[in-house]
């Protein structure tokens, strides 16, 4: 990417039916999915039948009964994919999974607040908004885009039920002087929930598509970055 992000990561979000109570660092270590030292040094937020959350040096896991999120801001991101694939292929293969998303996100800083305003102005011009747009224009830095999402339903290179959502907004973590930008590409893959082999299909799709998805997402994010000097 043309601007080095301050924070750069990936999240894999799986939808299905989970048992959060078992998804502790110790369970993952017992099954060889995390090393003993990683599990022992993990920070366990909560382990409960309804929700489990823990973090290690490179992984944050949050699980509810209907959703599991795996999150990392530590390169190499492929490690997250390997972890998810091994978990559901080698151990939790009976877990009903119905969909997953690969979310590639960054927080980056542009050089000046004016550059960030310029990105917002290009993505969401004020002139089509008539009088309201004029009010926004007159308000200067107090008026403009605060969040924008663009969605592509049914991307050509995905099975039915997929969609790609791209969101751009000011960052709440970096560049609090008005220079921080957050961009995330949510690449969502649906699957046939009636298929008893759905876990295997989801895992296979995750394994096959992770790198192309993140690569494509990085192209989109890089383009957003280019708008700062467009």
């Amino acid at each position: 990417m043309r601007i080095e992000p301050d924070i750069s990561g990936v999240a894999i979000v799986l939808l299905g039916h989970f048992n959060p109570a078992i998804l502790t660092p110790a369970w993952f270590a017992m099954h060889g999915l995390l090393s003993d030292s990683t599990a022992e040094s993990a920070t366990l937020g909560v382990a409960h039948p309804d929700v489990t959350e823990f973090s290690t040096e490179w992984l944050r896991l949050r699980a509810r009964s209907d959703q599991m999120e795996l999150y990392t801001v530590q390169a190499p991101h492929i490690r997250l994919r390997d972890f998810a694939v091994r978990t559901f292929r080698e151990h939790l293969f009976h877990t009903p999974l119905k969909a997953f998303g690969i979310n590639r996100f960054v927080h980056f800083k542009v050089r000046t607040p004016a550059e960030r305003i310029h990105i917002g102005a290009l993505l969401a011009p004020k002139s089509p908004w008539g009088k309201w747009g004029q009010a926004l224009e007159n308000a200067g830095s107090r008026g403009g885009m605060t969040s924008l999402t663009m969605t592509l339903f049914g991307p050509d290179d995905q099975p039915a039920g997929g969609q790609v959502n791209v969101t751009v907004e000011p960052s709440n973590l970096v560049g609090k002087d008005g220079t921080g930008v957050f961009a995330v590409v949510n690449d969502h893959y649906g699957t046939n929930t009636d298929d008893p082999g759905s876990a295997a299909h989801v895992v296979e799709s995750l394994e096959a598509n992770f790198e192309s998805s993140t690569s494509h997402s990085e192209e989109i994010i890089d383009h957003v970055m280019s708008l700062s000097s467009a």
């Binding site: 924070i7 750069s8 990683t38 973090s55 390169a75 190499p76 490690r79």
Partner: protein, 113 residues
Amino acid sequence: MSRSTGLVALQEWEGYVIEIGEDEFVSRLWDITAGAKREEEEATIPLEEISEEDRDKIRLGSIFRWVIGYQRSVAGNRRRVSEVVFRDLPVLTQADWDEAREWAIETRRLLGL
């Protein structure tokens, strides 16, 4: 996750081990950042660069990622980092082997071999 906001990769290679010495190992690499699909370079990496927990994973053919990038602290300090991470790839299951065998048999049949 810690006092760091993470490791942002500037450059990333994938590689595999072709030779293991007493203090280092030799690997073949391809440049992930540049989109390379096959190995283009060789590198010798000191074993001391590998974390304790990854040393057990070093075998001939073991696959790893080598990342060079910046690690930022929560306070905003930035330092250049080089990290080698051995991949924990999914094992091949008996079902994988069976499927591959069936595919091979069918392919031979179709080719008249």
